[in-house]
């Protein structure tokens, strides 16, 4: 116990109030919050100064930069160790402590004198860097840096800014700004073929993309016009229902076919097929290659995909009689004309 602690306790007790000695990590936290705020502000200001001069003031007035990344580096070994101890100790108690701690360091908005704005839109956990220099054993004189006025400098920070992006969300008033669509395109949309009736109630959010499926199995040949996603497989009572998976279900009737044989779905305007990992059998493509489970294959516009289902996974299919529809069902998948129209620009052809 130092003489200062003794005197402090003595005066506190004389007033009838006992002062509790706080834990050293709390002292550390109190000390670094302000310092980190200052360092982060300075880093953002530096990054902003480097960027804002490249833009017209009129651009800066209608937009803001985004704070994409922030790196904080401790400059000496003691600080580095204390910061790591502090964060690790609290994270062992509170899992998201790091986010909460840095939330009070990073301000939601920073502004420059020229009118540029930086917004930290999402909770941003800075990257804590350990500089190699702070790991070196240093002499007493060079163990830490001080400012011109003698303040010990413990951290430095570097900010990375993105943007600028328009401050009002683009498209916020898109409904009022939208011009009516081209009449010719509208006419095409309304001339889409009627969809085939689908079993069960379809979930909301079903893709607008349509595929034409031609199935050849022991029942003969059938055609379907389906909205995606679609699941094909053996018809059994144990097979998942359309409502459960959210996909339209088409049953295949042949000797060799899995319950969840094939899934067809659309992602960002492209249509893919996949053999789920649950399927014990796979599908062979037109070139006799066997589809790998859980791998997606894109259906190219204008090029129907021909698959033979029920082939063994990873096996050579050359010895199999894939033309026997009673044993191996065949599935032909083609993107609907309207889907192709949506997906891409067609190549004009000469009319003869």
């Amino acid at each position: 116990m130092s003489i200062f602690d003794f005197l402090g306790r003595k005066s506190a007790q004389s007033g009838g109030v006992q002062q509790l000695k706080t834990h050293s990590t709390d002292d550390f936290a109190d000390g670094i919050v302000i310092e980190l705020r200052a360092v982060v502000s300075a880093a953002i200001a530096t990054a902003l100064e480097a960027l804002e001069g490249r833009y017209l003031r009129s651009v800066l007035e209608q937009s803001h930069f985004t704070l994409d990344a922030l790196a904080i580096r401790s400059l000496d070994f003691d600080t580095m160790r204390q910061l790591e101890d502090f964060l690790n100790r609290h994270e062992s108690i509170q899992a998201n402590f790091r986010d909460n701690f840095f939330a009070q360091i990073v301000q939601p908005e920073y502004r420059s004198s020229r009118g540029a704005i930086v917004k930290a839109t999402a909770p941003l956990a800075p990257l804590i860097e350990i500089s190699a220099a702070s790991m070196e054993s240093e002499t007493e004189d060079e163990s830490y840096r001080i400012s011109l006025k003698g303040r010990r400098i413990r951290f430095e920070a570097q900010a990375s800014l993105g943007g600028p992006v328009r401050t009002e969300a683009p498209g916020a008033d898109a409904a009022t700004m939208m011009e009516p669509p081209n009449q010719a395109v509208r006419a095409q949309r309304t001339s889409q073929p009627e969809r085939a009736p689908m079993p069960g109630n379809l979930p909301h959010g079903r893709s607008d993309f349509l595929v034409t499926l031609r199935v050849r199995d022991s029942d003969g040949e059938r055609s379907f016009l389906c909205a995606l996603p679609v699941q094909l497989g053996r018809a059994t009572s144990a097979a998942p229902s359309a409502g459960a998976s959210g996909a339209q279900r088409i049953d295949l009737r042949s000797t060799y076919v899995s319950r969840q044989q094939l899934v067809i779905f659309e992602v960002m305007g492209a249509v893919f097929v996949m053999v789920p990992t649950e399927a014990s059998l796979s599908c062979a493509m037109a070139d006799k290659k066997v589809m790998q489970p859980d791998r997606v294959y894109r259906i190219q516009p204008n090029v129907p995909m021909l698959l033979t289902a029920g082939v063994p996974n990873g096996a050579d299919v050359t010895g199999l009689d894939l033309d026997d529809r009673g044993q191996y069902p065949q599935i032909e998948i083609a993107l609907n004309q309207a889907t192709q129209m949506e997906e891409g620009t067609p190549r004009p052809r000469a009319t003869r």
């Binding site: 651009v59 328009r166 898109a174 010719a184 006419a187 095409q188 067609p346 004009p348």
Partner: protein, 230 residues
């Protein structure tokens, strides 16, 4: 002539949709954009090939007559039929010549020219929108590298004042509105933009196209140029 340009290309998350390409030779005063037909295999490579070819062929053709210019473009088209036989692309060209600005287009991409006279208080005005080749159902009626490529639309604009050429592929052209373009021009005002300013404006228009529901890849390029003060 001071010319500044920027382009934001293929602003669409799906990598399979990146079929737009842009090339330029600022020294020679030529800027070219192409949009490969997404339904064709190799559209991305074809678009990149055609913009590079056009810049190489036309970089020093400012003095060509329009018919010679058209023949040069159609020669690239004929070459494309053999190099990329399965695909096609739209084509937009902006070229600054000694006496005029030559604009050319094939297909359904959009090229619009805005002008601000040199005198004080003059406003930006749309001077020209290049013809778009669309058939009755909204598909392109001709593309470079396709079976149908018969007409190269060529227009001329006078030099003087400030010009802004806005190149947009069909996805952006169908969804970006005139009011959005007007806002971009208002942002420019009478000031000389930096490439970063133009990139911001291009990205802003492209984001608006995506927000308006455009499913195609979105590309926007801008070329600003002005005669130096005397």
């Amino acid at each position: 002539m001071t010319a500044i340009h920027a382009a934001v290309m293929n602003l669409q998350a799906h990598p399979a949709f990146g079929c737009d390409a842009f090339a330029h030779d600022a020294q020679a005063g030529i800027w070219v954009m192409a949009d490969g037909a997404n339904s064709c295999p190799g559209a991305k490579q074809a678009a990149q090939w055609v913009v590079t070819q056009i810049v190489n062929v036309l970089a020093h053709s400012q003095l060509l007559s329009d018919s010679e210019f058209e023949r040069s473009v159609l020669a690239v088209h004929a070459q494309m039929l053999s190099v990329h036989p399965q695909t096609a692309a739209t084509l937009l060209i902006g070229q600054i010549g000694p006496a005029s600005i030559r604009l050319a287009s094939i297909g359904d991409s959009m090229l619009r020219a805005f002008h601000q006279p040199a005198w004080l208080l003059a406003r930006w005005r749309e001077q020209l929108a290049m013809p778009r080749d669309l058939d009755a159902i909204g598909n392109p009626s001709q593309l470079i590298g396709s079976e149908v490529c018969e007409t190269v639309h060529v227009r001329h604009l006078p030099l003087g004042g400030r010009w802004l050429l806005v190149f947009m592929t069909d996805g952006a052209a169908a969804t970006v509105t005139s009011s959005a373009l007007t806002m971009s021009l208002a942002t420019l005002g009478r000031q000389q933009p930096s490439p970063d300013d133009l990139e911001y404006l291009c990205r802003d228009l492209a984001l608006q196209a995506l927000a308006a529901g455009c499913r195609d890849d979105v590309s926007v390029a801008m070329v600003w140029f002005a005669e130096p003060l005397r």
